[in-house]
């Protein structure tokens, strides 16, 4: 679960990982759970990309006359309360969920990296930046998200931003802790004494150290973003209903849970499977890239 900070009191990550022999990396990655997870994710991406050609209809096409139909040859997964084809919605929903997950991961990692680098390297910025980050962390993420969505209306972009913002402080903390632990490494000091300019120093010697933890953190953000999107939809602050996302299929379907549990369960199962796969992948990456990182959740 990504919505956690580091487990160590000050988040220090210890010294730079000694470069692992390649074989360790690949044996960790090549276990069956990890391969299954990767296969599932690849399949999902394919499904998302090729949704229009996979026996789907327009997922937004209403047909009030055929609402809440059970599974049938016409409607592979039945229809929802507007008579939309759930199968099509679920497939198209994969797009949204993947975009939300990937977008949140990329955005939070990119912004968190920039801020974290600055805070970790320029000590004078640290105090200010970290206070602001603490402040942001102290606001429950979901509330911030609800407020932001109310602020600028429900749209995919808003939801993305709303999910990303609360994740940023965690990434910042992570990056900062890595930088703090690496900035006094002899090879960094050696680069300083070789007269390497500050930005080159950051790019060349500091940033690569954050790559592995960020990759792992990114997977967790990915997973939790998908979940958060669902929860936001549940609370009525998710992506607009016109857009099909797993979250709002479930949110709309929850009123019919006892009649047509599929409305929650089909997207729910897919969502859990995705999150599960991403988490498995993240854990594997963590173990493979740096066993010491297993400290962080």
């Amino acid at each position: 679960m990504s919505n956690t900070t580091t487990a160590t009191p000050d988040g220090a990550i210890g010294s730079a990982p000694p470069a692992q022999p390649r074989s360790v990396f690949w044996t960790t990655i090549r276990s069956w759970p990890v391969m299954t997870a990767i296969a599932i994710l690849v399949l999902l991406v394919l499904v998302a990309v090729f949704a229009p050609w996979l026996h789907t209809v327009d997922p937004t096409a209403l047909n009030p006359a055929a609402r809440l139909k059970p599974v049938s040859p016409d409607y592979w997964l039945g229809t929802d309360a507007y008579g939309r084809d759930v199968f099509s919605r679920v497939l198209y929903g994969a797009r949204v969920s993947l975009v939300v997950g990937l977008g949140a991961a990329l955005l939070s990692v990119a912004l968190g990296l920039a801020i974290g680098l600055a805070a970790g390297y320029f000590r004078w910025m640290d105090a200010i930046v970290m206070r602001v980050m603490d402040g942001l962390m102290a606001i429950p993420g979901i509330l911030l998200a609800i407020a932001l969505v109310s602020l600028s209306g429900a749209s995919l972009v808003t939801v993305l931003v709303a999910i990303t913002v609360p994740e940023i402080p965690r990434v910042v903390r992570l990056v900062r802790s890595v930088i703090l632990s690496v900035r006094n490494e002899p090879y960094v000091e050696a680069a300083v004494s070789l007269g390497t300019p500050t930005f080159t120093l950051m790019r060349r010697h500091l940033m690569p150290n954050t790559l592995a933890p960020l990759l792992v953190q990114g997977t967790y953000v990915f997973a939790s973003a998908i979940l958060t999107e669902a929860i936001l939809s549940f609370l009525g602050a998710g992506v607009p209903p016109e857009v099909s996302s797993w979250g709002n299929i479930m949110a709309e379907g929850r009123a019919y849970f006892q009649l047509l549990p599929g409305l929650v369960l089909y997207p729910g199962i897919l969502l859990s499977l995705t999150v599960l796969s991403v988490n498995v992948l993240g854990d594997a990456l963590r173990d493979a890239l740096d066993p010491r990182m297993s400290q962080r959740v």
Binding site: S15, A19, Y187, A191, S193, G195, T200, R204
Partner: protein, 559 residues
């Protein structure tokens, strides 16, 4: 040889306490591939009251052997596959886990290298010692406590009641090591294995701990297996010596046999690599002054507490020194005496609190980031840890030319210079596109030196540049530095805590204590005729002073 007689023991007085016969340890087989051999054909015997030193370079299998005896080999990583380990007549390799647990601490005990990490940080040390008694005896609580206190007393700990209640972090390294020893010896085991018990300690503390082990050994007639790579220590304490290389026994014999008349080349090489404590006389240098430090001060501030004045530590106070072209100036002193602080101030990795650093007659103390950038070419630094001094993600070639590129040298020219620098440090140019992990520690340290030299600096700062290396490698690197100094004429600020190394290479020596310079002068002068008590104590504490390793004979009773 001291043949101690233990009554109530079935074994005959002559039988060794520990016998290892044909021991072989392997990593487990994976996917049909047989495991790597880590220790092979190990044979040894230790008698009561005797000290056997196992020496050998890093990775030669010393620790693995000792862990095998204790039955503490990491379960999934290493396993004994052949041979016998007989402790007091009982084969450890055949004993069940329960039996081994019973034997530990009561029959055989072990002292580990790192006193900092060998103790549970969250338990008072007294309790940790007492736990041994809880496990192996049926003493009442009060009795146990008394026994522990007695033991603490006999390892010469001060204020034992307080120490009993202390947590490890509240004790010094030496004190912690005493606790570990107390823990190992409280049940008077027949066998004590000490795996580099003093490597992490100051020379002065080391001396005390060695004395302590000796004392307890004679008192209880314990058989001691002492693992070390420091020949000074070996010369000091060994009855017999066993030399290991790559998992195999090279040679074994009495102390004098091995140190004075080694039969194997490998042993010869090892012993002769140990630097002498007595410096060669060197001509006084009259070259141009490249670095001048005047009244340097560095204060570290502790985190401020409300309503209190901010506390500070003076890591360096009023340090002055002068370095000439072609000179190697050694800074020696105990851990924490401020050696690194001075080095880092000189290179401006940290900002001095006050004082002046002049590089090539230019004051660099007040230079900002930009101003300093231009001066960086002139002064370079080499660090202690060769494993962390190179960016593991960059090819060594890129690391070496990084500085040149920073100063506008074209890539092609930089590469040419890098090739030359690699030759200078004795590495071939075709390794430039390898990654650091493909090199050994010694090779990495050479690469670091090459990286510094390629800049053609006027001043080279070496902070414990050889301390992490095996003696044989150390000797090579020292030789290299000597050559470089002669060829390039660079001034070297050489920081070390090892007096032998300092004696070997330095022209002048500065002795530091508590951040202050207590004595300075020509190396020969300072080391053979120290004027300050502190310097004298430092020299006295250096182990193996009475042995001249390079010449395979006891030292002429000078020093």
């Amino acid at each position: 040889m001291n043949h101690y007689h233990n009554d109530g023991n079935r074994a005959s007085a002559e039988a060794p306490v520990l016998t290892i016969e044909g021991l072989e340890v392997r990593t487990p087989a994976r996917d049909g591939v047989p495991g790597r051999v880590v220790v092979r054909g190990m044979n040894l015997a230790v008698h009561a009251g005797e000290t056997l030193c196992i020496v050998g370079e890093s990775g030669s299998g010393k620790s693995v052997t000792s862990l095998a005896v204790m039955g503490l080999l990491p379960r999934n990583a290493l396993a004994p596959v052949a041979g016998r380990i007989i402790v007091d007549g009982e084969d450890i390799l055949q004993a069940g886990p329960k039996r081994i647990r019973e034997l530990r601490a009561s029959r055989m005990a072990m002292v580990f290298q790192e006193p900092m990490t060998a103790l549970n940080p969250v338990q008072p040390v007294g309790r940790q010692v007492e736990e041994v008694l809880k496990l192996h005896t049926r003493l009442a609580a009060a009795e146990r406590r008394k026994r522990v206190l007695d033991m603490l007393d006999s390892v010469h700990l001060p204020d034992i009641e307080r120490v009993y209640e202390s947590y490890p972090h509240q004790l010094s390294g030496g004190q912690r090591q005493r606790i570990v020893i107390a823990m190992a010896l409280i049940l008077k085991p027949r066998l004590l294995i000490a795996d580099e018990p003093t490597t992490a300690l100051d020379v002065t503390t080391q001396k005390q701990i060695l004395g302590l082990i000796r004392e307890l050994q004679t008192r209880h007639g314990t058989a001691v297996v002492f693992i070390t790579h420091d020949f000074g220590v070996v010369a000091e304490i060994a009855d017999r010596i066993l030399v290991m290389n790559r998992g195999e026994v090279v040679e074994t014999g009495t102390r004098d046999q091995i140190l004075a008349a080694p039969a194997q080349d490998y042993t010869r090489m090892l012993v002769s690599s140990v630097p002498s404590l007595i410096p060669q006389p060197r001509p006084a240098l009259q070259g141009e002054v490249v670095l001048q430090v005047r009244s340097l001060n560095k204060l570290y501030y502790k985190a401020k507490k409300p309503f209190r004045k901010q506390e500070s530590v003076a890591a360096a106070s009023d340090v002055s020194l002068t370095l000439r072209r072609g000179e190697i100036l050694g800074i020696v002193g105990e851990s924490g005496s401020g050696k690194s602080t001075v080095a880092r101030c000189v290179v401006r990795l940290i900002d001095p609190s006050s004082g002046e650093v002049r590089l090539l007659d230019r004051d660099i103390t007040g230079l900002g980031r930009g101003g300093m950038l231009a001066m960086r070419k002139k002064i370079q630094i080499i660090f202690q840890d060769p494993y962390r001094s190179l960016n593991p993600r960059r090819r060594v070639g890129d690391s070496i030319i990084e500085g040149l590129l920073n100063f506008g040298v074209s890539h092609a020219d930089a590469l040419k210079q890098a090739v030359r620098a690699m030759e200078l440090v004795g590495l071939s140019a075709d390794v430039l596109d390898r990654y650091p992990h493909q090199f050994s520690g010694g090779q990495r340290q050479r690469i670091c030196i090459a990286r510094a030299l390629v800049m053609e600096p006027d001043v080279l700062v070496a902070d414990e540049a050889v301390s992490a290396l095996d003696v044989s490698v150390q000797a090579q690197v020292l030789k290299l530095l000597e050559e470089v100094r002669q060829r390039v004429g660079v001034g070297v600020l050489f920081i070390t805590h090892d007096l032998r190394v300092a004696a070997q290479i330095c022209d002048t020596i500065v002795v530091m204590q508590h951040g202050r310079v207590v004595e300075s002068g020509a190396a020969l002068e300072v080391l053979s005729r120290p004027r300050q008590d502190y310097t004298k104590a430092l020299i006295d504490a250096a182990p193996g002073r009475d042995w001249d390793f390079q010449n395979f004979r006891p030292a002429p009773s000078a020093a």
